[in-house]
Amino acid sequence: MKLFEHEGKDLFEDFEIPVLKRVVVDKALASQKEKDLSQSIPGSKWVVKAQTLSGKRGKRGLIKIVGKESLVSEEVNKLIGRDVDGEHISKVLVEEAVDITHELFVSITYSTKTRGPILLFSLQGGMEIEDMVVSEIPLRIGMDVPDLATDDWHLVTGEQNKEKLEAKVWNVIQKLWRLFQDKDLFLAEINPLAITRTGDLVALDAKVVTDDAANFRQKWEFPVRNMFGTEKTWAEVESEKIDAEDHRGAVGRVYLDLPGDIGVIAAGGGASLVAMDALVTYGLKPANYTEFSGNPPNYKVKRLTEIVLAKENLKGVILIGGKANFTDQVETLSGFVEALKEINPQYPIVVRRDGPRMEEAKAMLEKAAKENGWDLVVFDSTTSIIDAVRKLVELVK
């Protein structure tokens, strides 16, 4: 899960990584008392930052520096509630502005090259990562951050203070590394890590991604969000409930509401990406993306189908997957049929799937289609995924 800057900074604070005094605002400021933000953040300059999950906020005008108290609330109110590039701004962070003399870049994540954690470090922070000279330092879980391997500290701070600065920076990185390990993070990035006029270090931004796979041992209390960082839709919330009390199979754990009109139920990770690629390539617009895998009981697939088909103005539905190794096709596809019987859709339906008991499942689907007058086609793996998608394109047009 991607965290907002203010959430990341709270985590930083818990691990004693220096951050600035700040206030999070979650609604437009009306009364004078509400507007008095600068009271809680003393100073003469403030930074007002929209909380979004997508980057490049500075370039998009979502970060404002304000030099007058009265303007703080004005800028907050301009940002809050706005929709930018598909993201709704529901929170704004107000921070004291500090004078800085230099910016560093620090990022800890996992690398497919070293196949372990890695520290990316640069003395030239604050700019696009493509423009920096970045050193890549492999880290080892349970061990301290090694030497930062740069001889250029004097360029930042002069000969006299270079050792002191190096020690200070190492210290902050060591704390970030501890946070990264303790909280099972996938990414912990500070860009920039600023050096203030008084020689202190401070994290001016926080980019944090948690590892969802570790949620069984991490108790996060951040508000739920979908993959786009916005509030979850009805379908996204409902699909998540399917697996809550019955661990058999994985059904609807991934659900994305999309702006199109083709309902999609995918089975199995890799083949489903091929199917989505084909849908997009042949000009159809998916209304959602969701998947099931493993060996779920039929009522779970039924529920997932109900959720997908609940969307209005659908033009077609496709249930698509590869040849399963062990998923029982009669069990899973009978759930699909039961939901169709309830909803009785008038648009084309394409099923492409294979695996144990597919022949029986195909006969079951075709019989139900005949009895109920559905425009339904069933393919097994002798028809390629691409051709199954093409069939839907043909039927929808």
């Binding site: 997508s54 996992y110 796979a213 990770g269």
Partner: protein, 298 residues
């Protein structure tokens, strides 16, 4: 280690008494694989599908000292411990099916394996199949006729696509030397480039089909390997992921590995760099069979 897998390879199943453990045992037995022992603490002396159960990997190996390969079939939170146990008992190749293993645990396992000269296939892998000879894991289930012996090596990041494509090739009369599902997680123990290195030296393999996904740097390693002469046989590549790139933001879909991490990892960039080193790219799965027939060994 891949070169040592054959019909005589002995396999230990960790977590054999669980539902998944039993199923994988059944799948391997369907290809007459020598599953010699199972492990489950507290269940020593029992039998699962005719396989004796031991309390520890060490105890199992005391009885079967030639067994150097294990299947790890325990819940995600216990995988790291199971791998450490296997390493301490001298296991040299572990297959991990589990999805949803924290990346930190995987990193720790890989570092430990590195130190002890052992390898992991996975996590989130369905395993390896040598048609009519050997199976590690549950690839193809009991449907062993979806594969047939031949000269095409298959490497895939996706389990579903591994079975799908092996099946398509078999139907087209193209046999396979080995099918390896390396796993879909962000960090994996055996990378596509490492499998290619094996295929380079494998006499049975004449050409290779590789299925990649958007995201991660594993295809870049393949490009480097070919550039430096580490792989010289004909290679056909199929890359999924046009849909993910049509989405507004980073969205992990299907597998954690499908997170686009910067320009070099996009589909188009990958296709371009692979084409530059001579790989043939199948834009759609339909084109794979034709491309495999066209490319020939030097």
């Amino acid at each position: 280690m891949l070169d040592r897998l054959n019909k005589n390879t002995q396999v230990i199943v960790q977590g054999i008494t669980g539902k998944e453990g039993q199923r994988v045992t059944e799948f391997m037995q369907s290809m007459n694989v020598k599953v010699v022992a199972g492990v489950r603490p507290g269940k020593a002396g029992e039998e699962v599908l005719g396989v004796p159960v031991f309390d520890t990997v060490k105890a199992a190996r005391a009885e079967f000292p030639e067994a150097l390969v294990s299947c790890v079939y325990v819940p995600p939170q216990f995988v790291l411990g199971a791998v450490k146990e296997a390493l301490n008992a001298g296991i040299k190749l572990m297959h991990i099916i589990g999805e949803g293993i924290p990346v930190k645990d995987t990193a720790e396992m890989l570092a430990a394996c590195n130190e002890q000269g052992a390898k992991i296939i996975g996590p989130a892998s369905l395993g390896i199949v040598i048609p009519e000879e050997f199976k590690l894991g549950q690839l193809m289930g009991t449907e062993n006729t979806s594969v047939m012996p031949g000269s095409v090596g298959i490497i895939s990041r996706s389990g579903g696509m591994s079975s799908e494509l092996a099946n398509i090739l078999t139907q087209a009369g193209i046999g396979q030397s080995m099918v390896v599902h390396v796993g879909g997680d962000f960090l994996i123990g055996t990378t596509p480039a490492e499998v290619l290195e094996f295929f380079e030296t494998d006499a049975k393999t004449e050409k290779v089909l590789m299925v990649g996904e958007v995201g991660g740097g594993y295809e870049r390693e393949v490009v480097e390997l070919i550039k430096t002469g580490g792989f010289t046989k004909p290679l056909v590549v199929f890359l999924a992921g046009a849909f993910v790139e049509s989405l507004p933001q980073q969205v992990p879909l299907g597998h954690a590995g499908a997170i686009i991490q910067g320009e070099a990892d996009t589909r188009q960039a990958k296709i371009k760099s692979l084409e530059e080193v001579g790989a043939k790219i199948a834009e759609k799965p339909d084109e794979i069979v034709d491309l495999l027939s066209v490319v020939s060994s030097q």
